[in-house]
């Protein structure tokens, strides 16, 4: 009895991914706690569990994505619910201070962290909260977490989906699918920036390239152009705008299709191209600008991803990352771009837990690390 429990890491089980913009935290809430365990559980631990599971918002900016919760999950021989929590990286210092106030270090748990912040904030964790981080590579975690969540599924449903009829806005519908045989896949992780990986197996992958035009660029430009403050606000505006007031289309230049090169009149010739002109600048709305920013960034990512897929000879392109959260404009646009430019050769796949795979991967490392003790 004692032997088995020794192999398991002590609660609480956390996995953390500290990105450039957002911190992603996954928390495993055991639901199979025995009465004996309950008695032994220190007050501190109880209060953490209660605090995290009974709230959906933490402070001003922390959010629990309740709809993503994975229920009755078995991990490392325990059953429980996996909670998905995020807050802005700007709040990281406040978070560390809280860890210090709550005397988190007394719990003797290992805090597994990935993302750049694991390196950047390592000293702060140590000096302020007396916590030692187990730093993990973000791409390793991303792939491990992704494969795990896809494997366990989303509360009985598939984790993965695609869009049927991506070229037909009327009949474009989201369809679940499985990643039964996921390799090779081109994994496009859209966070603040973008990383593109060619994944051949869980342990065999390479970073093909990346681009600095990512989610951070969308939000950063939107804030400057429209005065908005949050991703949600920016997306809300974008959903109401019309990018063709901002972008110069092929037909704006050629009066129709540019047949010599097979370019449709409706294709964007120059993103923000109309904005060279004062009259046009005076006539557009903030919503139009937000939409154009979103479309520009999304199309560019699609274009680079497609080129990489062709260069790497991979047909399955999986898009993840928090840029895609509540962002059907982008997911549909990516699905369309992959399908259209590859003439149906490439399929864009998406995952429900968009930006949390790194954090899940970090949690798995915690469990794995203690197994190996």
């Amino acid at each position: 009895m004692k032997l088995i429990s020794d192999k398991k890491p002590a609660f609480p089980w956390f996995g953390m991914d500290i990105g450039g913009t957002l911190v992603k935290l996954v928390y495993f809430e055991p639901v199979d706690i025995t009465a004996e365990e309950e008695q032994e559980e220190v007050e501190n631990l109880k209060s953490i569990r209660r605090y995290l599971t009974s709230n959906v918002a933490y402070g001003k900016t922390g959010v629990r994505d309740v709809h993503l919760e994975l229920r009755n999950l078995t991990m490392c021989g325990r059953t429980g619910n996996l909670h998905f929590i995020r807050f802005p990286t700007q709040g990281m210092h406040r978070f560390i201070e809280m860890g210090s106030e709550k005397n988190f270090s007394s719990l003797h748990t290992t805090l597994c962290a990935t993302g750049g912040g694991a390196y950047k904030f390592e000293n702060d964790f140590r000096s302020i909260a007396d916590l030692e981080l187990l730093k993990l590579d973000e791409l390793d975690c991303l792939i491990r977490g992704l494969l795990f969540v896809d494997h366990v599924g989303f509360n009985g449903h598939p984790e993965c989906y695609y869009f049927q009829n991506p070229s037909d806005t009327q009949n474009c519908v989201k369809r679940p699918c499985t990643l039964d045989n996921p390799f090779p896949m081109l994994l496009v992780n859209i966070g603040s920036g973008v990383s593109i990986l060619a994944v051949y197996s869980q342990d065999n992958y390479k970073r093909v390239t990346g681009t600095s035009l990512g989610g951070g660029t969308f939000l950063g430009l939107c804030c400057l152009l429209t005065g908005c403050e949050t991703f949600e606000e920016a997306l809300e505006m974008a959903s109401k705008g019309d990018s063709t007031n901002v972008d110069k289309l092929v037909k704006d230049i050629y009066g129709g299709d540019y047949e010599r090169f097979g370019l449709q009149g409706s294709a964007v010739a120059s993103s923000f191209g109309h904005m060279m002109c004062k009259e046009k600048r005076d006539s557009i709305s903030k919503e139009d600008l937000a939409r154009a920013t979103l479309v520009t960034i999304t199309n560019n990512i699609g274009s680079i991803a497609r080129m990489c897929a062709v260069n790497e000879k991979i047909e399955r392109v999986v898009f993840v990352g928090n840029f895609l959260r509540i962002n059907t404009v982008s997911t549909k646009l990516l699905a369309y771009a992959m399908d259209f430019w590859s003439k149906g050769q490439l399929r864009a796949l998406f995952l429900e837990h968009e930006g949390y795979f790194g954090a899940v991967g970090a949690l798995m490392e915690l469990l794995k690390a203690s197994e190996e003790l």
């Binding site: 990105g19 450039g20 913009t21 993302g115 750049g116 912040g117 390196y119 950047k120 390592e122 590579d137 791409l139 966070g191 603040s192 920036g193 390239t209 681009t211 600095s212 035009l213 990512g214 989610g215 951070g216 660029t217 950063g220 430009l221 804030c223 400057l224 152009l225 005065g227 908005c228 403050e229 901002v246 972008d247 110069k248 230049i253 010599r260 090169f261 294709a267 964007v268 010739a269 120059s270 993103s271 923000f272 191209g273 109309h274 904005m275 060279m276 002109c277 004062k278 009259e279 600048r281 600008l289 520009t296 199309n299 560019n300 274009s303 680079i304 080129m307 990489c308 062709v310 260069n311």
Partner: protein
């Protein structure tokens, strides 16, 4: 220049009516308009490029042999007649859209040729100005596809303008590193960055394909820049960007990681997320910082896409163009940086000197297809072309304001088609010029001074060559001004016409002389010297014939070298010649350096002579007079006697006192009349006189007359002799040939002699056998 004349595409309509009052010296811009035909126009967002074909009437000096049965011409060998000759020239003029109306009016007033009915048009602005053009010029506007024109223009400049393409290095001594045009220009990738980006793969003259593109281009920079800052003009946005700090706006890898992301090799300074720091409402960002961040974002993105396409299609030559690039150091730098980063240096970003003209050139070529312009070779007329200007924001305002003026490019149709010498060991790495004055600041200073210093003498010589023309003095003054101005330009912008070299300085002078109708300032001197030298020919030959074989070989070499001292192009010599016309051949021999010479492989040459004769020798000759007649001809005669065929290559048109092909024809006939060996050579076609295709005192072995190349191939030429400072030292000193070669020259410039470790009248005698062939002569003896 009118203030505020710079306009963007949007305000162009309003502005072109506003600027009617500008005063231009249009006759200096729209030159030769009276003979103009075949117009083409490329109207872009802010600049208009006009192209037309015209003919230029030149004075040319022709030599004519006398009928020597009649004795009335005294001792003179031939007569010089100045004739008018008509040559073809392409004119390209670039100006701001604001000037369109004024320019069209001027053209209308001066257009004489009534055959012209259409004007080919391309560019985004062509439809906007269609009516205006048709109304003003009475010509029908015929639209041509933009991309097709661009590619046609690109092929044309790559094929006809050496040093068209360059690599940009911001922090190097010379920002521009010109590329030698690869003999085969295809395949290549053209990345055209206009408002959007088009990526075109060009496989041959007529085969090209748009393989991709991006909507993030110049329009995105301009449009977003205008939204984010108070600056609304493209140029000014670039200037603003060049002063900004992008790290205040961009999220770097170190902002996320606290340092680098070592395991992936991502350095801390790498941009992780463009504008990643601006996602906040409570901070103001500087306009320059935002513009800089935008510039990086767009340049990196384009560079990345270009690399992905280059990789996919396995192409290593990638040219960048479009208004985003157009000579802007800022964007050339960021694109270059991006390409270096994404390809790890495997692909170089290449830019073009005449990038702005590609569309107009292409549209023109489309309209001129019946004249088949691509069957000719063309050359840039330095006298009439503005050259590349730096638009670096660091440059002084006087130079920057040039973007509001007129820029010109003139291309002369060459009489003969030019091809590379088939005997170059590696044509793709061949560089004619020995010294690149663009990179060598000390040498540049010296040579610019030297040419400036020699200007008085050249002017004097030019005037003296036309005693019968009373206005020669005035023309010569104009020449002086023009050439001095060119020198001044080159002092400030050494890269204006590609790499600055002694050759380009000499060629520019020849172009300027031609411009003011001094086709051959040395014609009279050459005539006199040829006359004098001919009288000594037999005597010289007899003196050689009495020598033992061994002595004779050495005497022949020193004869060529001593003859080469007679060069009006070299100031040290022209001073002596000017004061003492009787300066003798024997005295020249005495002036020569004693052996061992500065470069001395005479022993190897002599050993080689003991072996079997060469099959055929190609001899690039230099000066007229003593040089060709008493130096070269006896040497040739010896080669003929050995059983070696000889091809004498001389200039097609005059340059300094270099012997021209037509002069050489007459000289050789006269020598043949005295000398049975030369006569036999001519009769049996074992001695051939061919044109080099050049009109330069230097020699570019990659641009030679096609006939010459054919002869060289047919005759299995196995020895190339290059004589003289211009051809064997300033150029071709390091040229590697696939057969034996002999470079002979006397250094008649003390600065250059010093540079090479010698002194005035040092001798270069460089005999080379290509690696791997060294053993052949010996084995063939056996």
């Amino acid at each position: 220049m009118a203030e505020g004349a710079r306009v963007d595409s949007v305000t162009a309509h309003a502005a072109h009516t506003m600027d009617k009052s500008i005063t231009l010296p249009p006759d200096e811009i729209f030159r030769n308009l009276e003979n103009a035909k075949r117009f083409a126009i490329d109207i872009g967002g802010s600049l208009t490029k006009l192209a037309y074909y015209s003919t230029v009437q030149h004075k040319v000096a022709k030599v004519r042999s006398f009928d020597h049965t009649a004795k009335e011409h005294g001792d003179r060998l031939y007569d010089i007649a100045v004739q008018e000759e008509v040559t073809a020239r392409l004119h390209f003029i670039k100006f701001e859209n604001a000037y369109i109306e004024t320019c069209l009016d001027f053209i209308k007033d001066h257009l004489v040729n009534t055959d012209t009915k259409v004007i080919k048009a391309t560019g985004g602005g062509a439809h906007k100005f269609k009516e205006l053009i048709e109304k003003k010029l009475g010509l029908k506007v015929d639209k041509e596809d933009e991309m097709t024109c661009l590619i046609k223009g690109c092929n044309f400049v790559l094929r006809n303008i050496p040093h068209e393409a360059f690599v940009y290095t911001k922090h190097a001594d010379s920002e521009f590193r010109f590329q030698n045009t690869h003999p085969d220009i295809f395949p290549y990738l053209l990345v055209n960055i206009g408002s959007g980006v088009s990526i075109v793969k060009v496989e041959s003259e007529d085969k090209f394909e748009r393989i991709g593109g991006s909507s993030i281009g110049g329009g995105t920079f301009w449009g977003l820049g205008a939204l984010l800052t108070k600056t609304k003009r493209f140029d000014e946005l670039l200037q603003l960007a060049s002063k900004g700090q992008h790290t205040n706006v961009d999220m770097l890898v170190k902002d996320i990681y606290g340092g680098s992301y070592g395991s992936l090799g991502l350095t801390g300074d790498l941009i992780a997320s463009s504008f990643g720091k601006s996602a906040t409402a409570d901070k103001e960002f500087s306009q320059g910082d935002m513009a800089k961040s935008l510039l990086h974002m767009i340049s990196n993105d384009i560079g990345q896409l270009a690399c992905l396409y280059a990789k996919l299609h396995n192409l290593s030559r990638v040219y960048f163009g479009g208004f985003f690039i157009r000579g802007h150091p800022v964007t050339m730098h960021t694109i270059t940086y991006s390409i270096n980063y994404f390809t790890k240096g495997e692909v170089q970003a290449l830019f073009l000197r005449h990038e702005g003209y590609l569309g107009a050139i292409g549209a023109f070529l489309k309209g001129a297809e019946e004249d088949n312009p691509n069957q000719y070779s063309w050359g840039e007329n330095y006298a009439g072309s503005s050259g590349l200007m730096s638009v670096s924001p660091d440059m002084n305002p006087m130079q920057r304001s040039r973007s509001g003026t007129f820029d010109m490019l003139e291309m002369d149709r060459l009489e003969r088609q030019l091809v590379k010498l088939p005997l170059l060991q590696d044509p793709s790495s061949y560089i004619p010029d020995t010294m690149d004055l663009t990179e060598d600041a000390l040498a540049r200073e010296y040579w610019l001074y030297c040419f400036e210093d020699a200007l008085d003498g050249v002017v004097k010589r030019a005037v003296a060559s036309q005693p019968e023309a009373p206005e020669a003095q005035e023309r010569a003054e104009k020449f002086r001004q023009k050439y001095r101005h060119k020198l001044q330009t080159l002092r400030n912008q050494p890269f204006a016409y590609g790499s600055l070299t002694v050759r380009s300085l000499l060629d520019t002078r020849e172009h300027c002389l031609n411009e003011f109708n001094f086709p051959d300032p040395y014609s009279k001197i050459k005539q006199r010297e040829n006359d004098v030298a001919l009288k000594y020919y037999l005597k010289a030959v007899k003196a050689l014939d009495v020598l033992q074989w061994e002595e004779r070989q050495f005497a022949l070499v020193t004869g060529v070298l001593a003859g080469n001292v007679f060069d009006w192009g070299a100031k040290a010599v022209s001073d002596v010649l000017e004061s003492d016309p009787e300066f003798g051949f024997e005295e020249a021999k005495r002036q020569l350096e004693e052996r061992p010479w500065l470069v001395d492989s005479y022993d190897q040459w002599f050993a080689r002579l003991k072996g079997p004769p060469h099959k055929c020798a190609l001899f690039f000759v230099d000066n007229s007079g003593v040089d060709i007649i008493l130096g070269v001809m006896p040497f040739v005669r010896e080669l003929l006697s050995r059983g070696t065929e000889v091809v004498l290559a001389s200039n097609s048109s005059p340059a300094l006192n270099d012997v021209t092909n037509s002069e050489l024809q007459i000289l050789t006939e006269r020598i043949a009349a005295m000398d049975p060996i030369v006569q036999g050579g001519l009769r049996d076609e074992r001695l051939l006189l061919v044109q080099s295709g050049s009109s330069s005192p230097c020699l570019d072995l990659s641009r030679l007359d096609k006939v010459l190349a054919t002869v060289v191939r047919e005759r299995n030429t196995d020895l190339v002799i290059i004589e003289g400072m211009g051809r064997a030292i300033h150029t071709n000193y390091y040229a590697m040939l696939s057969c034996e070669s002999l470079k002979m020259a006397v250094i008649k410039n003390s600065w250059l002699a010093n540079r090479l470790g010698g002194k005035l009248f040092s001798v270069v005698f460089k005999y080379e056998v290509p690696a791997g062939r060294r053993e052949r002569p010996v084995s063939s003896i056996l």
